[in-house]
């Protein structure tokens, strides 16, 4: 699975980095930087789902790799 960020929808609430620090870092302005192109190892899929569900602007999605 892969995380996909809609950078227009993202308003830097930062919950994703709180819930998924293994894969999400925040830049100096508070916007998420996804590690490894957003690739989610299977061990972190549940945590990634929680981060997706927590995003107040629905900017984060979990998608199947193309």
């Amino acid at each position: 699975m892969r995380l996909r960020l809609n950078p227009i929808a993202c308003h830097a609430h930062g919950l994703c980095a709180e819930l998924l620090p293994e894969l999400v870092d925040l830049d100096e302005w508070g916007y998420p930087i996804l590690a490894d192109g957003g690739h989610v190892p299977s061990a972190l899929v549940d945590q990634a789902k929680a981060a997706v569900a927590a995003c107040p602007t629905l900017a984060l999605r979990l998608v199947k790799p193309a």
Binding site: N6, P7, I8, A9, D27, E28, W29, Y31, I33
Partner: protein, 425 residues
Amino acid sequence: MTTVTSYAPPRGPRLLAGWADTARVADLSAHVGRYGPLPPVDRALIGMVDAAGLRGRGGAWFPTGRKLAAVAAGGRRPIVVANGADGEPASDKDHALLTVAPHLVLDGMVLAATALGAADAILCVHRGDPLAPAVHAAMRQRTGDPVAIRLVELPARYVASEESALVNFLNTGEARPTDTPPRPFERGVRGRPTLVDNVETLANIALIARYGPDWFRAAGTVAAPGTMLATVGGAVTAPGVRELPLGTTVSVALGASGGVSEPVGAVLVGGFGGNWLAMSDAAELPLTPEDLAAVGGSLGVGMLLALPARVCGVAETTRIVRYLAGESAMQCGPCMFGLSSIARDLEMLMFGGRPDVLDRLRHRLGVVRGRGACAHPDGAVRLAASALTVFAADVHTHAMGRPCAGIRVASGIRVPVGGIGLGWR
């Protein structure tokens, strides 16, 4: 399908053949007299464009035949959009083409629409562009077209003509980029598969439909056939738009504009979101998408600006990046905050910063790259990053608190003020 052969194909300039011969704007009769009437086409035109190897002249250089095929595969009746609203302040080629040979562009729109089975085609230019009335007049001269062509004026902003922004404007009236996918070829104007092609690309389709793929490939390189409309400016004797075979070297392109008018240290290639090249590295570089990519750049919209050696490259880059920051659509955080931060770092460097300013700038360039919905931040980052390499010695002395005298020398490169008081509707 047969190729019309009763009119001899142009030798030398193709798109600007009429202008080169007569120095007159081609009305419909002059246009038909030179290129012949609109040839009959069907879906097979897509294969001809593919065989010709035509690539998009709006800056991405994507294979046009593949884009046409993708739009055709969309299932619903497509829409054709001709992009004549180039946002590059220093590029003039689309404007020049629409001014001197509007019927070549209109032909291309009609032919592409016919091949795709589209009934509607939209030609986009900047609002207030003085060429709009002339294009209107050219459209009125054409009475037998099987496709309805409409002229639409959009806000004269840098990213307003990015293809998702263009489609967004046509759908909602707001000329800001959208998140992709879906891309316009999948879901564009009114939800239909939409071909967004640059006007120069469409004008080339009008020639390929008449003279065939082999003729088209007689100019340019194997990977990038045909000619390009290059805007050559800065420190050259005769700045302006030139039609050159793809693969022409930078020094030949400058020569075609009368040569440099004073010693030149670097050239800016592609656009404001392109990259600086040291003149010594650039001189023999062929102008093709691949050759530019190999040096970390982009052929973009074919813009070539010669920077006088006595001008400070750091200052020039700062002016341009500040403009690009002002032209952010203010949607994606890394672009909205990152570009203005990068511009501020450059300003501090320009006036003589400290070494830590340079470190912070380098860090920010790495952080911002690739994180916008569109490529706008990437272009600004590319320009700034190339400046740090090409003007490295100068950058070092600036960073040590010793700005050069060149920051007070005007380059002759016109950089507008970005973003102030301008909207998106």
